[in-house]
């Protein structure tokens, strides 16, 4: 038994010359998403069609619903292109519905314009047929209990009564590549997810301070990547040890500036990794005003440390909005595991909330920045994290 699933995509159909590239990317991503389920993906009349084993229907649907660019999907029955065949398929479909669904509406659409009946004619003919065959049904064109949708394709007709929403957005990869700063907290995976939603292909960068933090913080970053990878198929995670940098900052810079200087070192490191991996931007989970290092002044001072574009998809989001997205993505339960930085050693008691660039730059002169960056980068570890 084969199940056929229609896959609708929205935005990308509108994008003029890029359309082919976008569709090719979506096709690749769909194929990767259903890999291993024995499902084939083909193009038909402005949609993709997934055909796979019926016993894996739920699995296939849940995977397709995680592919960015997909607006909605519908498992569909098919019929040969004749009114009798369509009628009998419609009849079979209606029989599978609970009898409590008593009002309906038929909505036909034709991709094959040479089909002898127009869409309104199909609607009324199939509607009349269902009314005469199933006395419990009646028509309600405004608020029907179910819509029977019929798409007249070039080779066959598709019939279905429901749609599952997809994540929308653009296919991962079509807008470029970026580096996500992945801390292990709640925000950064959501930021990564939102960047991917707009078509960016993401690699992760995690900073740790082993031995001042344990191995579990790295494991957590890996788990978060694995979650994100369910939306992109795979992910590369880079890890850099910043313990030495933290020690130097602690020894040489005024304590309240510690965090902001560390953040500046982190974006410098990120810039170096991005350049090496040919990534065009950095994505962070910063949201305006959440903590001391995320005031407008802090963001300005952090930006000044680098020339690379920094994207902050969560900038204007409230914490509860971020949390509910994190729950939806599935990263929340990983993020809240208590493998926080063990050591308060490097946390200043009163961090600066309104740093001034001049003062920070002056404090940084005590550091041999190029050497610190070079040493930290030389210890870079990179792993490929497959999706589960």
């Amino acid at each position: 038994m084969t199940v056929k699933i229609l896959i609708r995509y929205g935005e990308i159909a509108l994008k003029g010359k890029n359309r082919n590239m976008f569709e090719a990317a979506l096709r690749r991503n769909l194929i990767r998403a259903v890999h291993g389920t024995g499902t084939a993906i083909t193009r038909i009349h402005g949609r993709f069609l997934a055909e796979g084993p019926a016993d894996k229907q739920q699995e296939i649907i849940s995977r397709l619903r995680k592919v960015f660019g997909v607006v909605s999907i519908s498992p569909a029955a098919t019929a040969a292109l004749g009114m009798e065949e369509i009628q009998s398929a419609a009849s079979q479909l209606v029989q599978t519905l609970p009898r409590s669904l008593a009002t309906f509406k038929v909505e036909a659409r034709r991709a094959k314009k040479t089909f002898p009946l127009t869409s309104p004619e199909i609607n009324s003919q199939i509607g009349a047929f269902l009314l005469s065959s199933y006395p419990h049904l009646s028509v309600d064109v405004h608020q029907p209990d179910f819509r029977l949708e019929i798409e007249i394709g070039h080779r066959e007709a598709f019939l279905y009564t429901g749609r599952y929403a997809g994540p929308g957005g653009l296919p991962v990869g079509v807008t470029g590549k970026a580096l996500l700063l992945l801390s292990g907290g709640i925000d950064s995976p959501v930021a990564g997810w939102m960047a991917m939603k707009r078509g960016l292909s993401i690699e992760g960068l995690h900073f740790h301070s082993f031995p001042f933090t344990g191995r579990r913080s790295q494991e957590k970053a890996r788990d978060l990547c694995q979650k994100l990878a369910t939306y992109s198929g795979k992910m590369t995670l880079h890890m850099i040890n910043v313990a030495a940098i933290q020690q130097h900052i602690k020894e040489s810079c005024p304590e309240p500036m510690g965090i902001i200087i560390l953040r500046r070192m982190m974006v410098r490191l990120a810039e170096a990794v991005a350049a090496n991996r040919r990534l065009q931007a950095i994505v962070t989970g910063e949201s305006l005003g959440q903590v001391a290092s995320q005031t407008l002044e802090s963001l300005e001072v952090i930006n000044a440390a680098t020339n690379i574009l920094i994207l902050r998809p969560l900038l204007a989001m409230d914490k509860h909005e971020i949390v509910s997205l994190a729950e939806e993505i599935g990263s929340y339960n990983i993020s809240i595991q208590p493998f926080e930085d063990c050591c308060t050693l490097f946390l200043p008691r009163h961090p600066l909330t309104r740093p001034r660039l001049k003062a920070i730059e002056k404090a940084e002169t005590a550091l041999d920045i190029p050497r610190l960056i070079k040493d930290a980068i030389s210890g870079l570890e990179s792993v490929r994290v497959p999706s589960l």
């Binding site: 082993f210 031995p211 001042f212 933090t213 344990g214 191995r215 020690q247 602690k250 208590p338 926080e340 930085d341 063990c342 050591c343 308060t344 050693l345 946390l347």
Partner: protein
């Protein structure tokens, strides 16, 4: 760089022979011991053999061994099983402040259900006061539960004396000994001791995880923790973990066979490590009893000025694996209840590390450990 595993109180590397046996039994003697056919009899025979091995180590009767899923279940069964069984006789239980969480949390649950529990304090070496215990035992005291060897500091409680005292005060009070850290590490005979229940676990003695046993002296009775078939006298229902139990039996036989040599080796490793660190002029403080008095395989040291968890990770980088006395989280520090009960100062609480040995360790490893600890402590105390 070779791994140096000094976390043997957490778990041990299994003996090769034990794993081979488990593989063989899993593949070949896979029958259900309750089945009537020969495959069942064969599996039952495996259980009998393991029961025999363990009984022999404890110098007890085979029919007094009840297999469980491990030390935690054995402790739960000992505490709740007797409390529920004897609740009409009394609702008072006694334990110490330095027990394993499987004991303490079982007792907290009983307290919520209306039992009363006394927690004996310990002195700065981890010993309870016999006098204090004597005062606490009353006519309604149904159970005293005390760990034989403390898992964090290695204090050995005078179990025989404690048992005599209990029976002298109230002959009906049962005495449970949590022997997870003493089984096959010390030499003793349960038969001659005034003890009624004894817990042990396979993976602490180079056996598999997921297997343990509760020894229940003939005459003592239990209420099972959950319902099922008639296995283990219906005190611990559920199809037996045949292969795991076989591995447990063999691990106990092998460990007990070399117990004397192993204890001597571990004792000397413990001494060399401590002495070696002192010789390096490191600030080291011994937590728990004096070296000669404590269990041979456990050494707990504080390195004031250094965070234990950070030192652990620094040693981990050298593939030296140890364990911390307190898990430190920036938000809520959670020092070990055992070290707190000793009355340690904060500096020592935060910097405690536990080194625990097995017969797989050797002197060369200890020399390397001394070297790396010295290096790490020196570089970390700069911060």
């Amino acid at each position: 760089m070779n791994e140096i595993y000094l976390d043997n109180s957490s778990t041990t590397r299994p003996f090769r022979e034990v794993i081979d046996l488990i593989t063989d039994i899993s593949l070949n003697s896979y029958g259900n011991p309750s089945s009537l056919h020969y495959k069942g009899i064969e599996a039952e025979r495996v259980l009998k053999k393991a029961r025999y091995e363990i009984a022999r180590v404890l110098m007890s009767g085979e029919d007094e061994i009840y297999f469980t899923s491990g030390g935690t279940e054995a402790n739960n069964l000992a505490i709740k099983g007797t409390a529920y069984r004897y609740r009409r006789q009394g609702k008072h239980l006694i334990t110490t402040a330095i027990e394993h969480p499987s004991i303490l949390n079982s007792l907290y649950r009983l307290q919520k259900e209306g039992f009363t529990v006394d927690y004996l304090p310990v002195n700065d070496q981890g010993y309870i006061s016999l006098e204090r215990l004597g005062q606490l035992i009353k006519t309604d005291t149904i159970l005293v539960s005390i760990n034989h060897v403390n898992n964090e500091i290695g204090t050995i409680q005078p179990v025989e004396q404690i048992g005599k005292l209990i029976k002298q005060r109230n002959p009906r009070t049962l005495f449970h000994v949590d022997g997870v850290q003493s089984f096959c590490k010390l030499s003793f005979s349960l038969a001659s001791w005034p003890v009624d229940l004894f817990s042990c676990s396979a993976h602490k003695i180079h056996g598999p995880k997921g297997v343990g046993a509760l020894w229940v002296k003939t005459g003592a009775r239990l209420t099972p923790l959950f319902e099922g078939g008639e296995q283990e006298q219906a005190w611990r229902p559920g199809t037996e973990n045949v292969a795991g139990i076989a591995g447990f039996g063999l691990a106990a036989k092998l460990s007990a066979g070399q117990q004397k040599q192993d204890a001597a080796l571990m004792h000397s490793l413990k001494h060399s490590l401590y002495q070696g660190l002192l010789d390096q002029n490191l600030k080291v403080k011994l937590n728990g009893p004096p070296l000669e008095e404590g269990a041979p395989h456990i050494l707990n040291l504080s390195f004031p000025g250094v965070k234990g968890e950070v030192l652990l990770h620094a040693l981990e980088e050298q593939k030296i694996l140890v364990s911390v006395g307190s898990a430190c989280h920036s938000r809520r520090p959670r020092p070990s209840h055992v070290l707190q009960a000793l009355g340690l100062e904060k500096q020592c609480l935060d910097s405690a590390l536990r080194f625990s040995f097995s017969s797989f360790n050797n002197r060369r490893e200890i020399e390397s450990v001394i070297h790396h600890i010295t290096e790490a402590v020196k570089s970390l105390s700069r911060i």
